[in-house]
């Protein structure tokens, strides 16, 4: 792709590439905006930017990641995802074939979740002004009447459920970036969680107090966030936290803790204790929740500590990090 030169021809080439990949009635009308019907109840909107290196990784690429991530941010409210928009910042020299692959996987990811990408934009910038490709997305969904998930709903004694093994996405990216190959290839967990959330709500209803997708910063960052919003602490059982053996080994090599590593197809749910088993069973029955687990509980704690239980009734703090994992041992 080239910047500036080419003008109209280039713009048309790109837009037809996206139209073909996303193929829906809204884009087909070629307007600068798309009109859609408004559902009853509440609407939900989210927006996110995707910057990932490498752009292609085992289990997906930046395109499928953007669609899944935006859908997940919508569905963590309990809403049904409906429409997406996508904006592309493309570095001059980017391969058109790569762009096509990415667009195709976005279209596929959206179709798979029953959502439509109904608005978009592309800009090509000079070499060095972007790292290959950046994608910004906005997602819109409809929330059933009366449904309201929020961190401040968490109560002492609630259970903490995770939908599956942790750290897969971050470790897949890192292994690819550092070219470290263990016997088993680690695949990103990038997935849309709308359907899993639907079965959870069917099983738990209002007993589900909070849902979050533990993306950047991993489970540790997400639980610390919820702790601060809810004013509660967490007490987790390390042995109950699902981590794949290959992910654990790679994390060990890099000196990372899987609970600090990003996920792109997992969720954490804080669930009322009397409904936790039912919700967990529903999760396990779903393909995206096969490895779901009850990993701990919320506790009263004026310090809002997220702690990992140790033997003899003690606990170790699971911290959030301000950036990278810096060494601490002097």
């Amino acid at each position: 792709l080239s910047h500036g030169a080419g003008g109209r021809a280039m713009a048309q080439l790109i837009s037809s590439l996206f139209h073909r990949a996303f193929g829906n009635e809204w884009l087909a009308r070629c307007n600068d905006q798309s009109a859609f019907d408004v559902a009853t109840g509440k609407m939900v909107m989210t927006t996110d930017g995707y910057v990932v290196s490498p752009l292609f990784f085992p289990g997906g690429n930046i395109g499928s990641l953007a669609v899944h991530g935006t859908i997940n941010d919508v569905v963590m409210s309990g809403a049904r995802p409906l429409y997406l928009s996508a904006s592309f910042i493309i570095e001059e020299g980017f391969q058109l074939s790569d762009l096509k692959t990415i667009a195709d996987s976005m279209g596929e990811a959206a179709r798979g979740a029953g959502v439509y990408i109904i608005a978009g934009d592309t800009k090509v910038v000079e070499r060095g002004k972007a790292d290959g490709l950046f994608i910004s997305t906005t997602g819109i969904g409809a929330l059933a009447h009366g449904f309201d998930l929020s961190a401040d709903k968490a109560m002492v004694g609630d259970r903490v459920l995770v939908s599956g093994s942790l750290g897969d996405h971050g470790v897949a990216i890192m292994s690819k970036r550092h070219n470290v190959a263990f016997q088993t290839e680690i695949v990103s967990d990038s997935a849309a969680l709308h359907d899993l959330v639907a079965v959870m709500i069917a099983a738990g209803g209002a007993g589900i107090r909070v849902m979050r997708d533990p993306t950047r910063g991993g489970l540790a960052a997400t639980l610390n966030e919820i702790a601060h919003q809810s004013g509660l602490g967490f007490r987790l059982q390390e042995a109950a936290i699902p981590v794949k053996a290959a992910v654990a080994a790679t994390c060990e090599l890099f000196g990372l803790d899987p609970i600090h590593v990003a996920n792109e197809g997992k969720l954490v749910a804080i669930v009322a204790p009397h409904l936790a088993d039912a919700v967990l069973a529903a999760m396990k029955a779903h393909p995206l929740g096969r490895d779901a687990a009850d990993i701990g509980e919320t506790v009263a704690d004026d310090h809002k500590f997220v702690q990992m239980a140790t033997s003899f009734g003690g606990g170790r703090i699971v911290d959030w990090l301000s950036g990278e994992q810096l060494p601490r041992i002097c």
Binding site: F182, D301, H303, F305, Q307, L326, P327, C330
Partner: protein
């Protein structure tokens, strides 16, 4: 004031400041005044002790006052004023005055000789009483809630004195006059179990928890390998050495070598654990792979009673003197347990017998640990017996709170020209650890009655101490880790003017955000400049590399172009085959850490590949040294960067054994450091060299570098009042922050 001016018509008002409360100072003054036939009074006050005397021999009184002070007293300042005589008749002891507090609580002291003889005197009413104490001994800091140090401000307020104790408490001639912690079997605290039950359990190889002066301790027979192993497996402590307690100073020689200074430290009122060269006659599980053993003498009457009973039990007759393991009861790296309910619950699975009593502990204090290094005593851990004794500063400074680091944490608060360094708090990675950290700050601030104007903290963004500082709503000063290590030594020595600082340490965030740890700094006032450092080495896996020395060894092999040997040398490590891929990457983390070099060498020599406790690799490497040697041309220095590449190339040769390699590494590394310092001394013209950082707990390294610096005509300054490790950070931070504030305010005055 000259003696001639004191006549019958004048009355002297004398104010004494220092450690003068809770040490028997008022009865001492009473006795002295009575001896010289003076009238007047003595009272505790906010500034220390206030005395008024009148009479013909007042000048003699004044001259004697500092000379015969009680053993635990420390006089900082005596201020004398003349007033008109009141013509009063007798001398009395007044109650404590209120007002602003500027005195402080002194440290706890081991049972004194007089109490000890009473303890074993069948005629004495304190016979075999585990809570005997007087104004020369017993708990202070650990039982005091607030100031002034009066019984009603301590946990002793729960015990109403009986008639006999009341009489002693009120008798100015008694050693127990106003001794706030006094008690007797009639009216005082009680132990939950008899001494015989404790002793039977220990002799039977069981693990016993007792409530010591500063917190719960775990005890077992140190000559019984099974008992020690049982304690290890229950405490989940695989290799970290245990300290042992002996019944008396006469027994020390049986199990360890000790010189005069070491014996004096063992017998001092602080009763620290002293690291001594072991004769290796105890259970091998006590200090696996180490040449030194931590030894201490009984601290509290309970310890004495246990040894007394052990000696009279049949089980010990065939053996030499009894030796028991004494270790802090702190499950999983949490702070020492002090609360009875907690202890009973959490020690249930560790101890066969938990012995409690009903004298509460307000402030926990671990046993202090010291070692004699290069002929001086040096702290490894500063806690019971020393905290909260202040360290004198070269000048008065604004009140500063410094919160230290993340491991072996302490906090420091400055007041006027004194710095109060807290007892060792421990690691801040457990909720309990952080609660104790916050509680210590709160308690110290309140007993010192100061409002810090600034909080000083480490540059590391993710330390719990940094987070605490940032949430504190006060002005912040972030201080580089190794600068703080250096400043701690500069401050305790009251050194003014520039100093070079060789900081050999594990890890600290550098002012360039890098991983530092082997630094040569040029310090002056609050200023610090990095003028040299160790050659950066890859650190594959961050903190993992600190726990797994084989990783640092791999980084060295990779650096030497011998990465193909990693998998073979560390075949037992599952990750060894993958680490080369990580090391091949450019842009990975590097470190200039000195501590990681010790780890690497220990792994290269096949001594320790995985550490089960912090410092294990370095301590075991040091323990193997029989004599040091220097490899000629074993290092290069280029632009202040010290590279030991030739030394490493030699250390991985096949013909080097572990002991030889350990000696060669220690000797060469020390010589290289001295070379680095000497060159900088020449270019900067600065001849004072501070030696600090955790690596200086290594006695061989400290000794060699200290002697090397002296031989080069330099003046080395070494840490003596606070540990060279992170336990000294808060003190250094406080000093830099105080200097910064002073420099800023003088600069703004200059402008104004």
């Amino acid at each position: 004031m000259s003696a001639a001016t004191i006549c019958d018509r004048t009355r002297l008002r004398v104010r004494v400041s220092g450690a003068v409360q809770g040490v028997g100072f008022r009865p001492y003054v009473y006795g002295l005044a009575t001896r010289y036939g003076l009238a007047g009074f003595v009272a505790n006050g906010p500034e220390g002790v206030t005395i008024e005397v009148e009479g013909g021999r007042a000048s003699e009184f004044l001259a004697t006052l500092p000379l015969e002070a009680p053993p635990l007293a420390r006089i900082d300042h005596i201020c004398v004023q003349e007033t008109a005589a009141l013509a009063t008749e007798n001398f009395s002891i007044g109650a404590s005055e209120g007002g602003k507090l500027s005195t402080h609580i002194i440290a706890d002291a081991a049972t004194c000789g007089q109490c000890l003889s009473e303890l074993f005197d069948p005629e004495n009413r304190h016979y075999l009483y585990p809570f005997i104490s007087c104004s020369h001994c017993g708990p202070r800091y650990t039982i005091a809630g607030r100031l002034p140090y009066d019984r009603h401000n301590t946990v002793m307020k729960a015990f109403r004195l009986c008639a006999a104790c009341t009489a002693e408490y009120a008798d100015p001639a008694s050693r127990r006059f106003h001794a706030e912690a006094i008690a007797c079997p009639e009216c005082g605290p009680r132990l939950s179990h008899g001494i015989n039950a404790i002793v039977a359990a220990i002799a039977g190889g069981q693990v016993v928890a007792i409530k010591g002066l500063g917190g719960y301790q775990l005890l077992c027979d140190a000559r019984n390998q099974d008992a020690v192993q049982r304690l290890r497996s229950r405490k989940q402590r695989r290799q970290k050495p245990f300290a042992v307690m002996l019944g008396s100073i006469e027994c020390v020689n049986e199990i360890a070598e000790a010189n005069a200074l070491e014996l004096a430290l063992l017998e001092s009122a602080a009763r620290p654990i002293v690291l001594l060269t072991s004769r290796k006659c105890l259970a091998p599980a006590i200090a696996p792979g180490l040449s030194r053993v931590g030894v201490m003498l009984p601290v509290a009457p309970l310890h004495h009673l246990i040894f007394h009973a052990l000696r009279s039990t049949g089980a010990w007759i065939a053996e030499p003197s009894p030796v028991i393991v004494v270790t802090s009861a702190n499950p999983c790296g949490e702070p020492l347990l002090i609360d009875n309910t907690q202890a009973l619950r959490r020690l249930e699975a560790i101890a066969d017998l938990v012995v409690t009593h009903d004298r509460d502990i307000v402030t926990r204090a671990d046993d202090s640990v010291v070692a004699v290094v290069a002929g001086r005593s040096q702290f490894i851990r500063r806690a019971r017996g020393y905290a909260p004794e202040p360290i004198q500063l070269a000048q008065s400074v604004p009140p500063v709170l410094a919160v230290g680091g993340a491991l072996k944490s302490t906090v420091t608060i400055t007041r006027d020209n004194q710095a109060f360094v807290s007892q060792h708090i421990g690691d801040l990675n457990t909720p309990e650890g952080i609660r104790v950290f916050e509680g210590t700050i709160q308690h110290l601030t309140s007993i010192l009655d100061v409002e810090p104007v600034v909080i000083a903290h480490d540059l590391h963004p993710d330390m719990a101490s940094t987070r605490f500082a940032q949430a504190g709503g006060r002005a912040l000063i972030a201080i580089q880790h190794h600068h703080a290590h250096a400043a701690a030594v500069i401050a305790e020595h009251g050194h003014a003017g520039p100093a070079l600082a060789l900081v050999l340490d594990g890890h600290g965030v550098g002012s360039d955000a890098g991983n530092w740890g082997g630094e040569l700094l040029l310090c002056e006032g609050a200023m610090c400049r990095r003028i040299g450092h160790l050659a950066p080495l890859q650190m594959p896996g961050g903190d993992r590399a600190a726990r797994e020395p084989w990783r640092m060894a791999s980084a060295i092999l990779h650096w030497l172009g011998r990465g193909n040997e990693i998998a073979r040398r560390f075949a037992a490590q599952q990750q060894a085959q993958y680490i080369s891929a990580l090391l091949d990457q450019s842009g990975g983390a590097t470190t200039t850490s000195a501590g990681r070099l010790f780890d690497a060498v220990a792994a290269l020599l096949g001594i320790v590949s995985w550490q089960s406790y912090e410092g294990e690799a370095a301590i075991k490497l040091e323990a193997l040294v029989r004599r040091t040697a220097i490899l000629e041309a074993g290092w290069t220095i280029d632009g202040g960067v010290l590279s030991l590449r030739p030394l490493f190339a030699r250390l991985i040769a096949d013909d080097i054994d572990a002991a030889g390699g350990a000696g060669l590494f220690h000797g060469t590394f020390a010589a290289a450091c001295v070379d680095l310092v000497m060159r900088s001394a020449r270019t900067t013209g600065v001849n004072t060299v501070v030696l600090s950082g955790g690596c200086f707990q290594n006695a061989i390294l400290m000794d060699e570098i200290w002697r090397g610096c002296c031989a080069a005509g330099l003046t080395p300054l070494v840490p003596q009042r606070v540990p060279p490790n992170d336990g000294g950070l808060s003190f250094g931070q406080a000093w830099i922050a105080a200097l910064q504030i002073a420099e800023q305010s003088s600069a703004s005055e200059g402008r104004g």
